[in-house]
Structure formats: structure tokens, C-alpha cells
Amino acid sequence: MKDLTFGTILAVFEEIFGKGLFWGMVVVAVLVTLAYLYVLIRDRSISWRKFLLAQLSMPLGAVAAVWFVLRMTHSHLSNIGGPVDVILLLGIAVAGAIGLAILVYTLQSLVVRPRIESD
């Protein structure tokens, strides 16, 4: 591959998903991340109760992400052929897990009003 620059990677992703969908997904990801940072700063602490549910959702996110990628690419788990494949598969699973955990935590924080803590 010649000149694998950041611009090339963006162009490739635009072509994979289409310009609208790709940038839409980027905007959604940025918004969810910002909302997550917002509730962290607003609440000034992590709510371990919400974090527990977020953690419980992680395996679901991991499985869903792997299933989605395998399904979209005519692949099976038996196609894993080398270390880089395992790393990639784990990467997809981790991304799905963290993504869903952040989403679940943020939704809980935005929907459930923070308790007013006494001094």
C-alpha cells in the first residue's frame, strides 16, 4: 500500500460506509464520548452502581461486535489463521465491550437524576 496517511484512511472509511453514514457514526461516537465526559465531570465521581451495570453489558457488546463483523464479511471463527487475527478479533471485541459500557453508563447517568449528596 502506497502512502498510508491519515487522509487515505479517512477516504477509505468514507468509501466503505458512504460519506454520510461514516461521518454520522463519527459524530455519534464523539457525542456519546462527550456526554460520558460530561456526566463524569458533572457528577464529580464514578457511580459504582451504574458502573456495575455498564460492566455487565460488556460481554454483550463484545459478542455483538464480533458477530457483526463476521456476519458482514462472510467469515467464521474458524478462519482465524494467525496471531494478528487473534489480536484483531480481540480488538473488535474490546471495542464493542467498551463502546457499549460507555453507552450504558452515559444513558443511565443522563436518564437517572444524580442524587443530591449531603455534606
Binding site: 500500500m1 502506497k2 502512502d3 498510508l4 491519515f6 487522509g7 487515505t8 479517512l10 477516504a11 477509505v12 472509511f13 468514507e14 468509501e15 466503505i16 463519527v26 464523539v30 462527550l34 465526559l37 460530561y38 465531570i41 458533572r42 464529580r44 458482514m72 464479511t73 462472510h74 467469515s75 467464521h76 474458524s78 478462519n79 482465524i80 489463521g81 494467525g82 494478528v84 487475527d85 484483531l88 478479533l89
Partner: protein, 439 residues
């Protein structure tokens, strides 16, 4: 406490958001390049992968140039996708788009075929009678599939009587799958051929063999089928280290070979193919499925115009050009690009991706009266599919060296899922980005 805890946090939050926005904007900003002012008339014969990508890059680099593309084909074909269509993995529409959709504003498309090139008077004439004079000419018409060279074969046979021919276009690739699928159900002898001439993507005949083998395995019918790979060459691939790997994979999959066998004719009714062996003697084989790849040559207009090599590939007519600069050896205002170029490697879309910047810089250097700084090293890439879900990312140069793009991460001769993902997901996107001159 009366002080609101939100004020500084909100400010911090907004700063963060603004920072993220600025970062995103910086990422999307295209690198500005200084334009060269010129009144040059540039004619590009062919609006395929090479011609289109070059046109998109030239309009960005040149100010005032008159760029004309000559190509009668309304449809643009993403040819690397034909192997997937012929294995039932993608619909035929996957490879088809409109030629005009990829062309930049500010260029002219003459939707006619080139009928004549006169390098002395610097004119191109078209089948519609248009005469175009040029200062610089880029020859990128692709190649022609010489189906008539296979006696008894014609394209209307594809899809019936166990005949496949995936190179011929999207509808033929889909018809090939029809015939191949029947073979994976009923079994028998499948013969997979390749021509004696230079050809585009020398990996494709192997990919088709591997894919149909894998599909037969998945359907549980592999035991009823016999696979034979028949080729005029002495080895399975032009790059020795890859040829050895393919030989091992063929051994593993139980695919037999008949090397130095050139397909001469087929009798569709009797399902019989005739090959010439190393001694020139006829060898007849009865098949249940045969994949035909005909000899490939430069278009007639190239061969008639005196642009071809006089002492090499005389039956094929590829353009005589320098291996590194792709500039014509006798006419210094002509470049060859893509399949038609008379260089030892490089009839793939990946090669085009590396050739386009070379021709672009060569042409602009000529306009600016300086030496070019770009050179083509023969880079050719082939995501060699070895089964549905796995491929080997094979990349090499003129010297048969492996030139992996991701050394230490993606091993070149290993069957990997990640290489399959590149072929299935990222390749068409990269190709499209290339067409737009952005990769």
C-alpha cells in the same frame, strides 16, 4: 456553599469539545498543493482505473490544462471484485458503476473508442471521427480478451454445460458462478486454466480454484470432485517463493496440476477440452466444469499505431516503455499506464495505484521542464484468497522480492483472516479512493 460546581466544569467541557472539533477539522483538511499553470493539451486514452485516477490527480495539480479522456465504455468495472462475483459472494452489481461518476469537473470525456494514434503529428482519432491533437498522451485503454483464440468457445456458452469465464465481465462472472455452483453440487472433474500470454491479475485463476474448492468442502461434496489446475507455464506463479507456497497449498487441498498445458479448444457439447502439452502434442480431457481464461493482448489501435515493442511480446503488442518511468522509449511525450504497459509485472489495480503518481509526476515534470522524481518498481499486489474467509497478502516487485506493506504485522505468505478482510471490505474502498485521486 453558594458557588456553583458547574461553571468551571462546563467551561472545561466546552474547551474539550472545541479541542475535539479542531482535531477533527485538522484531520479532514486536504493537503494543499501548488498548481502548475499550463496550456498543455493532454489526452488520456482510457477512463478505467488508471485514466480516471490520473485525471483526478492532474486537475488538482494543473491550472489551465485541457484534459480529454477517450473511452466508449459507459460502465466502470471494479475488476478485482469479479472473483467474488464468480464465487457467489457478491452480486454482479458489486463491480459496476458509471464511468462519468468518477471523473472530475474540468475534463472532457469523448465517449468513443480511439481508432488511430499518430505519434508523429500528435493526433488521436476516434471511431466517431473526432480528431484530437495533443501535447502529451497517456495510453491507458486496458487490454482485450482474445476469446476467439480458444477454438469452439464463445461467450454465450458461459454458465451452461459447465463453462465459466469470469474475466469477461460482471454478467459472465455471475454466469460462471452458476456453472461452478452446479459443479460443487454434482462433482466430477473441474479444470481451471490460464493463458500463455501476459495476463491481468495472475492470482485470479488460483483464487477461483481455491474458492470453488472451499465451497465444495463446505457443501460436503468435495469427495465427489476432482480439481485440476492446467497452465501453460512451468510454475504456479511468476514469483518463485509464492509459487512454492501455492504448490504446498495445492498439495494440502488435493488440487492436481497439469503444467505446460495450453488450452487450445473446447467442445462444449461433448464437454471435452483440448490442450497442447510441452511438446505441442494434443491432450484431450473430459470435464464437468472448465474455467476459461483466454489469451490477452493490447487493443488493436495500440498495435496498429507503432507504439508496441518490436522485439518483445510480439503476439501481444504491449506499449514499449521504460520500466521505471513508464515513458515511451521512442516518443517522449507519451506514457503507458495500466494493463497496456509493456513492463514485466503490474497488470493489477494495485500496480495502477503505484503507477499513477509516476505518470503524473513524469508529465508535470515534462511541463515544468525538470527531471521526474518518481519511479515505478514493479509493485504488484494480490490478496490471494485461499478459502472463503482467508487470504494471503502477496506483494512483490520487478525483482520477485516480497515487499510487504505491513512487515511484522501481516505475514505475506500466511493464510490470514485479516488479509481476507482487506480483500472483502477495504480493497474496493481503497480502489474508489484511488479513482478519486485520494489514495
Amino acid at each position: 456553599m453558594t458557588e456553583s460546581p458547574f461553571k468551571p466544569s462546563r467551561r472545561g467541557f466546552l474547551t474539550l469539545a472545541a479541542g475535539a472539533g479542531a482535531l477533527a477539522a485538522a484531520g479532514t483538511a486536504e493537503r494543499a498543493q501548488a498548481q502548475t499553470a499550463t496550456k498543455a493539451k493532454i489526452v488520456i486514452i482510457g477512463a478505467g482505473a488508471g485514466g480516471t485516477a490520473l485525471a483526478n490527480r492532474l486537475v488538482r495539480r494543473l491550472d489551465g490544462a485541457r484534459i480529454t479522456l477517450v473511452d466508449p465504455r459507459a460502465d466502470h468495472l471494479y475488476q478485482p471484485g469479479l472473483s467474488l462475483v464468480a464465487a457467489g459472494l457478491k452480486p454482479s452489481g458489486y463491480v459496476v458503476s458509471k464511468t462519468v461518476d468518477w471523473l472530475p469537473r474540468g475534463v472532457t470525456l469523448v465517449p468513443e473508442a480511439a481508432a488511430g494514434i499518430d505519434p508523429e503529428t500528435r493526433t488521436v482519432t476516434t471511431t466517431g471521427g473526432t480528431s484530437l491533437s495533443y501535447d502529451f498522451l497517456v495510453v491507458a485503454p486496458g487490454l482485450v480478451l482474445d476469446h476467439d483464440a480458444i477454438e469452439g468457445f464463445s461467450l454465450d456458452m458461459v454458465g451452461e454445460n459447465g463453462i465459466g469465464a469470469l474475466y469477461a465481465g460482471p454478467q459472465y462472472a455471475a454466469a460462471t458462478w452458476k456453472a461452478a455452483q452446479r459443479f460443487t453440487e454434482t462433482g466430477g472433474l473441474g479444470i481451471f486454466t490460464r493463458p500463455a500470454t501476459e495476463m491481468k491479475c495472475a492470482g485470479a485463476p488460483l483464487k477461483h480454484t481455491f474458492l470453488i474448492d472451499d465451497i465444495a468442502r463446505t457443501s460436503g461434496t468435495r469427495g465427489k470432485a476432482q480439481f485440476l489446475y492446467a497452465a501453460p507455464q512451468g510454475s504456479l506463479f511468476g514469483v518463485p517463493i509464492v509459487a512454492e507456497k501455492v504448490r504446498m497449498l495445492f498439495g494440502d487441498r488435493g488440487i492436481d496440476t497439469a503444467m505446460q498445458h495450453t488450452l487450445k479448444s473446447i467442445d462444449a457439447g461433448a464437454k471435452r477440452a483440448t490442450f497442447a502439452d510441452a511438446t505441442g502434442a494434443d491432450v484431450q480431457m473430459e470435464y464437468d466444469y472448465i474455467h476459461v481464461i483466454p489469451p490477452q493482448r493490447a487493443p488493436e489501435v495500440i498495435r496498429q499505431s507503432g507504439l508496441s515493442w518490436a522485439d518483445k511480446w510480439t503476439d501481444q503488442g504491449w506499449v514499449e516503455c521504460d520500466m521505471a518511468s513508464l515513458r515511451h522509449l521512442r516518443f517522449d511525450n507519451i506514457w503507458a499506464l495500466g494493463d497496456v504497459a509493456g513492463v514485466p509485472k503490474g497488470k493489477t489495480a494495485a500496480s495502477v495505484k503505484w503507477q499513477v503518481p509516476v505518470v503524473e509526476d513524469g508529465l508535470i515534470a515534462a511541463i515544468e521542464d525538470r527531471e521526474t522524481v518518481e519511479a515505478y518498481n514493479g509493485y504488484t499486489s494480490c490478496p490471494m484468497i485461499t478459502r472463503v474467509g482467508r487470504a494471503m497478502l502477496v506483494e512483490f516487485d520487478y525483482n520477485n522480492n516480497l515487499v510487504p506493506s505491513f512487515p511484522g504485522v501481516i505475514a505475506p505468505l500466511e493464510e490470514l483472516w485479516i488479509s481476507w478482510l482487506m480483500k472483502e471490505v477495504a480493497l474496493k474502498a481503497t480502489y474508489n479512493a484511488m479513482l478519486r485521486g485520494r489514495a
